[in-house]
């Protein structure tokens, strides 16, 4: 809601990352979302995550569809290319982009309407391909831009600002992704930056489809009493089961962890994530057990958060297809066909 631009000059004392850039260099345009919107907190977490990961801005591609959430890529890392596509179709555009250049880091920001209503088909199929991307759903249960209609993630009994409570089954992004074989699945809350930043970092470094379903309240249309996606409701029923730390490649694990609760996992690029189980009974490597746990706690009205499932063994899209490591877009076109003499030979079989 701000109409003043951001100051261009950064404080000389601001910390710099390995590329010599400050967090300010990872910011974008001023947000035009409502004051207090959960999405702006997610944007801030993305800025911090990318800054700390030392990602060169031009090596990051920001993808989105349509909706409040899909506007946010304009609000972070302005030196990255962004693609604000059509409603619900961010996954296919990202799939094509990744097919052309597997060297870039892809972050897609979507919403519950964009991913679970109009775009559920593309969301599902990107997971099946194990597309290498960080897929964020800023989940508030409503359509903001069209003034508060329910989306497919609205819980049964959740009350709208006007009209009748929702009676349809919600589509839960996390259990949907789990059933489809996503290889990194997390849930978090826009109000918990401490949990969110390492989850985003792990998702960006994970070699495959990484989903983070983030409850991100809509202050204007879904933050009232009786809503199950409000700040108050989310804080009350927030249930952290597995927390995680992200550890850069070659860095040591320094934090002191209590024995038996810690599970370090090495990622494809040599970095590590350390899972800290808050609920010891939870197993984030078993789809079947995770599913049962999630369902039971969902039935109890709890919002289970943390890194809920991780599989580092499954190959991502290019490797599943057996593609070369070089980005296809970098191949000189002249080397991609066998030339005139071979065409003659090919056509001989048509004579």
């Amino acid at each position: 809601m701000s109409y003043t631009g951001k100051p261009k000059i950064a404080h000389p004392g601001l910390p710099r990352n390995q590329l010599g850039l400050t967090a300010r260099d990872y910011e974008g345009a001023v947000s035009t979302l409502c004051a207090g919107c959960g999405h702006d907190s997610v944007t801030a977490a993305i800025v911090q995550a990318v800054f700390e990961l030392n990602i060169e801005p031009h090596m990051l591609a920001k993808m989105s569809g349509i909706g409040c959430s899909s506007k946010t890529p304009a609000y972070f890392v302005s030196q990255s290319h962004g693609f604000n596509s059509v409603h619900g179709r961010m996954p296919s555009v990202t799939t094509g982009a990744n097919a052309a250049n597997r060297q870039l880091t892809y972050i897609g920001v979507s919403g519950d309407g964009d991913s679970l209503s109009i775009g559920v088909g593309q969301f599902v199929h990107a997971i099946r391909r194990n597309l290498n991307m960080c897929y964020i759903i800023e989940n508030n249960g409503v359509y903001g831009l069209t003034k508060g209609q329910f989306s497919a993630s609205a819980d049964i009994g959740s009350k709208p600002k006007k009209g009748q409570p929702n009676q349809q089954e919600p589509i839960d992004a996390v259990s949907t992704a789990l059933s489809l074989g996503a290889t990194y699945i997390a849930r978090s809350f826009s109000g918990d930056k401490e949990q969110l930043v390492p989850l985003i970092q792990g998702a960006l470094r994970h070699n495959g489809f990484a989903l983070i379903d983030i409850v991100s309240p809509c202050v204007t249309f879904n933050d009232h009493e009786g809503s199950t996606k409000s700040y108050a409701h989310t804080r009350e029923f927030y249930h952290q089961v597995v927390d995680m730390d992200y550890v850069q490649p070659a860095a040591e694990i320094k934090a002191a962890y209590a024995k038996g609760e810690v599970m370090p996992i090495e990622l494809h690029n040599g970095s590590k994530i350390v899972l800290r189980k808050i609920d010891e009974s939870y197993d984030p490597t078993s789809r079947a057990k995770a599913f049962k746990y999630l369902r039971e706690h969902f039935n109890a009205g709890e919002i289970v958060t943390g890194l809920l499932y991780l599989d580092e063994t499954r190959a991502e899209m290019h490797d599943l297809m057996g593609n070369i490591d070089t980005p296809l877009a970098h191949l000189p076109l002249s080397g991609l066909h066998p030339g005139a003499a071979e065409l003659k030979r090919i056509l001989k079989s048509f004579a």
Partner: protein, 600 residues
Amino acid sequence: MATINDVVIKIATVNGTGSASANGLLRKAIFRMGIPVVGKNYFPSNIQGLPTWYEIRVTGDGYQARADRLDLMVAMNVQTYVQDMAEITSGGWLIYDSTWPRSQLLDRDDITVLGVPLSRMCNESFEGARARILMKNIAYVGVVAALLDIDLGIITTLLEETFAAKKKLIDSNMTAIQLGYDYAVENFVCPLPKKVAAIDKTKGHIIIDGNTAAGLGCMYAGATVGAWYPITPSTSLMDAFHSFCRKYRTDPETGKHSYCVMQAEDELAAIGMVLGASWNGARAFTPTSGPGISLMSEFLGLAYYAEIPAVVFDVQRTGPSTGMPTRTQQSDIMTCAFASHGDTRQVLLFPADPGECFHMAVSAFDFAERLQTPVLVLSDLDIGMNDWMIPEFEWDEDYVPDRGKVLGAEDLEAMDKFYRYLDVDGDGIPYRTFPGVHPKGSYFTRGSGHTKYGNYTEDSVAYQDVVDRLLVKWETARKLVPAAEIRTSTFNKMGILTVGSGNAACVEALDRLKAQDINIDYCRVKAFPFGSEVREFIEQHEIVFVVEQNRDAQLRSLLILDINADQNKLVPLLHYNGIPLGAGFVVEGVLQKIAQGKAA
């Protein structure tokens, strides 16, 4: 009256019984005798058990269109026997399997019926139900060979080439062919008065379908990303691309691919993938047909407005809706020209045969990247899935791909600031950058209102500035795309104007009309937007017959819309029953209009 090398054969069979290889054998043998020949498929939207036909037109004059008559019917399918018999042109011949009795009621006294006990002969000579069915279909090749005087030696050679590694198959196939051949020679007067004789008119030619040629063109163009959703009649285009890539784009040592073929979950995803890949610097394409175009429309509008190259092949079939998926039409012209909501215009290319499918596949990528917009190549089922005899196409080793206005890292480093949608050169085409190249090249791609600097806007002036500049680009496109093929003479007041596969029938019709002393000029459009030569052609003639394969005269409407053509001059000749256009329809149409006084 005896005629040589001018005969039309149609074979009626049941699909899924191996008749395709028998029919191919006949067609190839005639081609190898140096005689021009074309083959057309009439097949059901079904896998096994329904009627299917293959029509072979032997044409010493080298015409490509569907014939308007039928000389020799091989009626192998009892289910369609009545219809098949009725279709034969008076004076023609019918071959049927005389193993079982046939109702005399179905006789026609103006044709010659030739019964051959194909099933009985094959049952006596072969073991097993499957072999007997397959061999029955091969045996009719022998009968036709005897009746038309097709060289048996060439047939043997073809079988040897096909089954090089399976000597047994060569022998059994030859046995079946000989059974049919010998029976015909012993029982009928062979050859018929309509027969073939070796000439030398196929040298330097090939027989190929348009989808295979287009798939090959995509490989030569350097396409690396192909996304698609299976749909008849476009499927074989991606099959061809994929199989050529498997052969030529697989690293012999590592087995890794330098291509990415993605079967999408639907056409929406297929075009989304193409746009993502193009945006990222790859040459990407999708083949589809009418229903796919409907689904892709929203994305095509984004590509037009956000200025992202894309190559789309629309192998047209009959509409509306599901229509007849295995029949041909040119009924997507309007939908494609204005695909998507809002003020959207798309560049179209219209190949007329498989050779143009190859070359236009290559130039489609050049135009798409030069113009930074989708280019839709409108083929159809007739071109895409039928066997056309065309001059062997060649690859120009000097070809340099046109990647259009792309700024590299050095360009960007030297620039103060990059703006995505500025018309720097006055041709309406801005400069673009690829992600991952340089931080200065970053911009935000969006389908929402944007300024010439690439920023989001709801400002009337800034919005209009961009959409008006797109019109400047449209005029650049008009000059860039291939000009129409035009044949004029200063004396002619009438013209025929057609598009795509209409070419074959119109060219033949012009010859037939000329033989009746009716001289007509010709214009075949190859692209949309239409060039000034098309406008001039219409202006220069009193009457222009617009020949197209749809009900609503879509090409005619587009001429009126795009170049303000005088609609009183444009006389529609519309063929839209799903069967490929033949010259007879055009000739009769023109003669009728002349008789009615609509033209003279």
